[in-house]
Symmetry: C2
Subunit: 416 residues, 2 copies
């Protein structure tokens, strides 16, 4: 290389603004849901920018969009860098867009510097990460990683649209992109994303090196007791499911998270039936959102939740029925790729910490087929999936610089 590739911060911020205008909401956020007209406009803009720079553009049968810059060794599979362009219906400007546009900026920086990489590097914009219009989310990366997509043909969106038809229309709207089959060998994957949580901002860390994505399980706990008059039923005659539910939640809240820094336990929803002020409830139903990066710990925590709920219910002559309504396994990222990212951060002399992602990302699935890692930057007040989502310009640029540096290192690796 004759010139050190460098992120053009102004160009990156200008691009973030340009994409934020596609599906812009009055409150300053974006509504650019997967496979919508707005999503197609964003894909078109990115493809046109790529073609202008002489990069090749591809899309596969799930409308995943790839922008390729060749490497010196034509036999090597590409390093992928990117994220997604779709948003929540009242989403922010940075969730997904930051990672995708920073990856494209990295590609341009390499091109500006006429830098040669050993591997090809491809920018990817995965289809339907959010899952708000068409569930499930992380659809493009899941399919890329080999998920069986046969049943997806029948998926209907929240607006009544057919997924299959919207996929076809989206692909047809970008005829400049060459078609590719879904899935291919890749050398690795690096994704830059906003944290969507408060820790980096609170700890004044510009960079998080993500080592794993938590697995998530949702449980619904229904404790059945016996309805009764609040005034006429003495303590000895109560089978109060609220008392049992509260005892179970209290016990779990006092142990699971305090004793394991990687664990998350959240009760976000609760109802009592019949819900009269002056009646002991017949039943209390609450949800438990459990997260942990290690599958065996998640299993152990789920077992503990079940045991505690049953024991506290039985202690009050109630019964507990516990159902698992959602199970998304987590992933530990490749130690080698984590090291590559950390090396890049160190070479830029940036304060950082290793951390675990509490939210899903496309990297969760790509990690199953290639060495993967993620880079997090802070977002204000930890806000995301919110029109007020905000990232300091300096943080966005710093994230892009780390991504570029990590990509240069990863794309030069000998062992892929």
């Amino acid at each position: 290389m004759t010139l050190q590739p460098e992120i053009d911060g102004e160009r990156l911020l200008r691009r973030l603004d340009a994409f934020a205008r596609i599906g812009a909401t009055p409150a300053g956020g974006v509504n650019r849901q997967a496979l919508s007209v707005e999503d197609r406009s964003a894909r078109r803009l990115l493809a046109e920018l790529a073609l202008e720079r002489g990069f090749r553009v591809f899309q596969d049968g799930l409308a995943n969009l790839f922008i390729r810059r060749d490497g010196s060794d034509t036999a090597l599979p590409p390093l992928l860098i990117g994220s997604h362009l779709d948003s929540q219906p009242t989403g922010g400007r940075f969730d997904g867009a930051l990672g995708t546009l920073s990856a494209f900026e990295a590609l341009e920086a390499l091109e500006d510097a006429k830098a040669q990489t050993r591997m090809p590097i491809e920018v990817v914009a995965w289809t339907n990460e959010e899952g708000s219009r068409f569930a499930p989310g992380v659809m493009g990366s899941m399919a890329f990683a080999g998920a069986d997509t046969a049943a997806w043909k029948l998926i209907v969106g929240s607006d009544g649209a057919s997924l299959a038809e919207e996929l076809d229309a989206t692909i047809a709207a970008l005829p400049e992109a060459a078609q590719r089959p879904i899935g291919m060998p890749i050398s690795g994957y690096i994704e830059l994303h906003i944290e969507q949580g408060p820790s980096l901002e609170k700890e004044r860390m510009p960079i998080g090196v993500v080592t794993a994505v938590q697995g998530t399980r949702w449980l619904e706990v229904c404790i059945q007791g016996s309805a009764g008059h609040a005034g006429t039923t003495g303590l000895a005659y109560r089978r109060d499911p609220m008392v049992a539910a509260v005892a179970a939640m209290h016990s779990l809240q006092a142990t699971i998270m305090p004793l394991d820094a990687d664990a998350r336990l959240t009760v976000g929803r609760i109802t009592a039936q019949p819900g009269s002020i002056n009646a002991i409830p017949q039943s209390v139903i609450f949800t438990v959102d459990l997260r942990h990066p290690q599958p065996e710990r998640l299993d152990a925590i789920e077992t503990e939740v079940r045991q505690v709920c049953r024991a506290e219910a039985e202690a009050r002559n109630c019964t507990a029925a516990i159902a698992r309504s959602f199970d998304m396994p987590g992933a530990a990222f490749s130690p080698d790729m984590i090291d590559v990212v950390e090396e890049a951060v160190n070479s830029l002399r940036l304060p950082h910490k290793r951390m675990i992602s509490g939210a899903f990302h496309d990297a969760l699935f790509i990690a199953r087929v290639a060495p993967a890692a993620m880079i997090f930057v802070p977002c204000r007040d930890g806000l995301s999936h919110n029109e007020a989502e905000y990232v300091e310009p300096a943080h966005a640029i710093t994230g892009a610089r780390v991504l570029l540096q990590a990509a240069i290192v990863a794309a030069s690796a000998k062992n892929n």
Copy 2:
């Protein structure tokens, strides 16, 4: 007295059946809401039975119905015995009717035996105890005890009817009854009622001697925290109002009732906002129904609830706002009248226990103007305000026997 007055059990059960047909529901309950056509039919039937026996019949401006049997001392105010004839929309056959018809049976038993009492005895059927059609309930007894009824003119029922018009129509439908002003001096009041709770049945006690009616307060506790992502927000960054609410409820449930046998604390309603499975709630709102017969203890318990909720909220960087939405003071019954009832129970050699009423009754208000007491009999499974409400015939008859005996003792007392 030449003949010992005795309850005619068969007559009492026949009467209970006859009144249960007025407003009978297909499921075996009754719908005889206050001042309805059905309520008027029941009042008419009772008045006709009374007039047949030669008793005098009165009603006051709130349609409270009185049936008078004179005593030997014409200067003495009457002893009142009775309850109410109105029901919940899906009410049972015994709530109110048992006490009213047993009181009338007692009057007939005295008449059958040609027994002379010193005081006059009057059977009373209070208007609108239930409060389901026209709120508030215990309206007739509240007015009798001196409540200001001026604002009641404007009350509109759940069916859109005017209380004032329905009162006028109900009074006009019974022209045989002589008019009386609302309220008058009385010597005492005894009310037989079903327990509406489980304790007598579970303890196999045919009779409860009621010493007090609990005071009731309703609090609404709103704990505000900070919404956040269930996965990305670590323990140190959580301001989780659910954790604070659970800790407060757990602390109160572990102390208030176990430490004070007369206290009741019930959380019957709870919600979390926004109520997403995968989000730390922004706020949790729950209700607390508090009961205690002693006003100063009720005050102390309310203070404790407020302190615990505030402390547990603050400990988690949340805030607690606590509002009192209802406050019904309790009443301790007259020790003399309690002794009269207990003496009657003892003379009949019946197992019994002293107990506190957890529900409101007309006696709550009458106790403010005269020595009052109540007699409870068991009801199956503690069920009331329910079409499945059921009282064993033997229990109904036993209750009427206690009421008759207590009335004979009370109506002969020297000190009134």
